[in-house]
Symmetry: C2
Subunit: 377 residues, 2 copies
């Protein structure tokens, strides 16, 4: 498929942020043609490519060859793979590599990898020379539909995940859909949870389309490209309306409050639960809780659960292997994530499929009772 | 004087940056009354105070006492003094201290110190939770009139000074003019070079006023407050017109291209040359070079030199103790600071006192010949 699809023009999603606007190109074969897209948009002829040891053997060479062919002088830095790389320990050599490569005003830093590489590299680009140009080449579905849109960058701290970083928008995102064929089914599914999320936030027709067409999305080809483009557009629209997360952007956290609590409860052990799986369970819980609060029909919760289960995602807390801490401990994790004010929490709830909203007066004790019911013991 | 002056209302300079606008208060006794000013403007009741071992013994206790009295819970972190503190090594514990203090949306990070503490702390505040509120209490004249206005923050890299950082505007600046009485005369003079700079950029009347009143400015009292307020206003005006340094803001670099080259040539050894002294010599050189290029009268260069010499600042390269490298080496340092394009440099030149402008076509070989003349051997 790669060869034939090289001729197809990629889909373009524009992220509209005034003088920080940028394009997301989505399509097959984009890594091999990356330099052409870059050279057509940026004047600089020096780049620093940051990637990890999993991605490098697959895609670094074709990317570097493409850059060289267009007369772009590039250096590369290969980091260890995994969440631990999002730390000051690795941020420092990335910054020094960028400065050492003399990346200047019209040059750029390129992140080639998943969310970890994107977040870390974007942060380094955001602080090197108080802001350097930045190109994302996301290599996971999650990174293509989520972290590569919106400009959030950062690293983890002993005090929590993503607590240190900046908002730094990329100048260009190249989402090569061919790379998704090398993802494990589990990793693809985890990214798919975020795709489904956009339907559940405010696109009921997209969710219905996914219910019908998810197999085609998983198989690759046009349906997959379409699903990624709609997801990027959905996130781009929210981000354009609320770049710094004061209001509407919070909707992107649908399923994430419960999801983060479950990730914390499993000590971020990816063997037990990865982020997208936590979000899948969290979205089901958010719909069930909304039904319990008489905001939405229980049928909607059932519909969400049925679809996510069909694609192979976990949908219940006891789908997670191993023992979970008791409900009160999960509640502590939620309270740490979201501040509790006068016994009330801010939560993303829903009035039905595609009708999510920010609820800022959710009684903490109702959440606890709900968790106790869903996870007795 | 402190006691009597406590009753005087501080002068206020407003830095106009849309929703990032803030006030600079200038006057005596502001550290002791800091908490009142803070509590009147910010809702948060948690603060983290970052300072250094030189400043802490003088001002940390009164500041902490003032905060406590207003019901503000504050932690403090005391760092080593000196330029070496502007490094990742010290940035990390500052970030962790901020996160550990649970500084949230309405709380703030306070920098109590000179330029090093301000730049480092501002950077940490800019990246902790992707941007935390930030209050500057600058304790040197240089910091009061220069680094505390404009939002540039950062640390040094082995590749150069200030190469890693963010633009992060403070929410409030408290310039307590009493603290200047504890500066060494040399440190005060170095800060004064930047005060004079504002006159030379575009305020000929201010420069003339300084020529007449500099002794009163050095002595303290109203003239000093006035000079600081005019300086802050001057910088605020430039920054408001050009927050991200694309055009007009470059004027603030008057004297800095030569100055930086001299700082580099003396290996940033503060015993030989401190920043403001480099700027003083640099401003004289910029006026002399402008005269040589027939842009300005040589009388203006003489007037600048006479004034800076009168206050006790160095004005010539051979005022610097020790041996300087030859002119070509200085030229290399200039070329590294500013890019040379087709043999041309961008430089801040002048048509006379208070008539500076950005010249982007200065022949590099003319600069070299000028340096050879001024510094033979």
């Amino acid at each position: 498929m790669t060869r034939a699809s090289l001729s197809a023009a990629p889909k373009t999603v524009r992220v509209d942020l005034g003088d920080r606007s940028y394009d997301i190109l989505i399509g097959p074969g984009l890594i091999a043609t990356a330099a052409g897209e870059i050279a057509g948009r940026l004047k600089g002829r020096r780049m620093a490519v940051i990637t990890d040891e999993h991605v490098a053997p697959l895609y670094l060479e074709p990317l570097m060859a493409s850059l060289k062919e267009k007369g772009i002088e590039a250096v590369s830095l290969v980091l260890p793979a995994g969440e631990k790389t999002k730390s000051f320990e690795h941020l420092i050599p990335v910054c020094e590599a960028i400065l050492g490569a003399r990346i200047e005003r019209n040059d750029a830093v390129i992140a080639l990898g998943g969310g970890v590489i994107g977040d870390l590299t974007g942060f380094a680009a955001g602080i090197a020379r108080r802001g350097s140009r930045f190109i994302q080449i996301p290599t996971s579905l999650l990174a293509q539909v989520d972290s590569s849109v919106g400009g959030k960058t950062g690293i983890n701290s002993p005090h929590g995940k993503n607590l240190i970083g900046v908002f730094h928008q990329p100048d260009l995102v190249l989402a090569d859909t061919d790379v998704l064929d090398t993802l494990s089914p589990r990793e693809f599914r985890a990214g798919y949870a975020e795709v489904a999320k956009y339907g559940l936030i405010d696109k009921p027709d997209f969710f219905a389309w996914l219910e019908k067409n998810w197999q085609a999305v998983f198989a690759g080809g046009e349906a997959r490209i379409e699903a990624i483009a709609i997801s990027c557009q959905a996130k781009a629209d929210v981000v354009a309306a609320d770049e710094r997360e004061n209001g509407r952007r919070a909707l992107l956290n649908l399923g994430h409050t419960f999801g983060h609590a479950l990730e914390a409860a499993t000590q971020y052990d990816g063997r037990r639960l990865v982020h997208g799986e936590g979000v899948a369970i969290g979205m089901v819980l958010a719909h069930q809780f909304s039904a319990r609060m008489n905001l939405a029909s229980p049928d909607d919760a059932t519909r969400v659960e049925t679809h996510l289960k069909a694609v192979g995602l976990p949908t219940r807390m006891n789908d997670i292997p191993g023992t979970l801490p008791p409900a009160e401990k999960l509640m502590d994790a939620i309270a740490q994530d979201k501040k509790v004010k006068g016994g009330k929490l801010t939560f993303i709830l829903t009035r039905g499929i595609g009708q999510s909203f920010v609820a800022d007066d959710v009684p903490a004790n109702e959440v606890l009772r709900f968790l106790e019911e869903k996870h007795p013991g």
